[in-house]
């Protein structure tokens, strides 16, 4: 497993993706799956940034591969609990006039991975997604 902490900013995404790219290359993650994991990382990372704006703590990203199983975990420190599994779902069947931007990211993450868990301990929120490579 490898991990690294990143500044709480959208501008850190380039560094985040540089870190994931090195992991994919080292672990020989298939190209198509790399985009899926990057999507999950970005959505969770930016969710932490957006909803804990007053927080100055960095966000930790951990990546691990065991066999065909890849696990991505992001941890936000010194925050109130927010269980994303309880976030309201966006109705994707609505017509354009009734659609509004926002709320889709984590819903899509759930759609793209095999497992998503939320853990809150000692004022730390951790979201972990797991996907089996096929």
């Amino acid at each position: 497993m490898i991990s690294k902490r990143f500044q709480r900013s959208f501008d850190a995404l380039d560094q985040v993706f540089g870190f994931t790219r090195r992991f994919y290359e080292c672990e020989e993650v298939p190209d198509a799956e790399r985009l899926v994991f990057d999507f999950c990382v970005e959505e969770i990372f930016t969710n932490f940034v957006k909803y804990n704006r007053g927080n100055l703590q960095d966000i930790e990203l951990a990546l691990d591969r065991s066999g065909d199983r890849v696990q991505v975990s992001l941890t936000d420190f010194d925050v109130e609990p927010y269980d994303i599994s309880r976030a309201p779902a966006v109705d994707i069947s609505l017509p354009l006039a009734k659609r509004e931007p926002g709320g889709l990211g984590l819903q899509l993450v759930r759609r793209l991975v095999d497992e998503l868990t939320y853990d809150y301990t000692n004022r730390q929120s951790r979201i972990t997604v797991t996907k089996n490579l096929r």
Partner: protein
Amino acid sequence: MFEIRLGDKGEVVCEGRLDASNAAKAQAFLDALAAPEVVDMARLEYISSAGLGVLLRTQKRLLQSGGGLRLVNANRHIRDIFRYSGFDRIFQIDDGI
């Protein structure tokens, strides 16, 4: 890396990765166009929900004038994201310009 520009046929060309760090750039470019019609995604590798928000805001603006975006040449990953987002119901998505 993300670039957005006008192509030879007046289409909007997107290249690279449209993520939260450059969504504002894409939004500003599209907002400056009165009636964009085609977005060529042949060289767009990746899109996140921030990019989806850019497309949705633009589509809603164009709806008021009876227009709309046609999204062309999207790769498999982006097409999956569009389908899971319901964007295939609110955008015309085609293989070629």
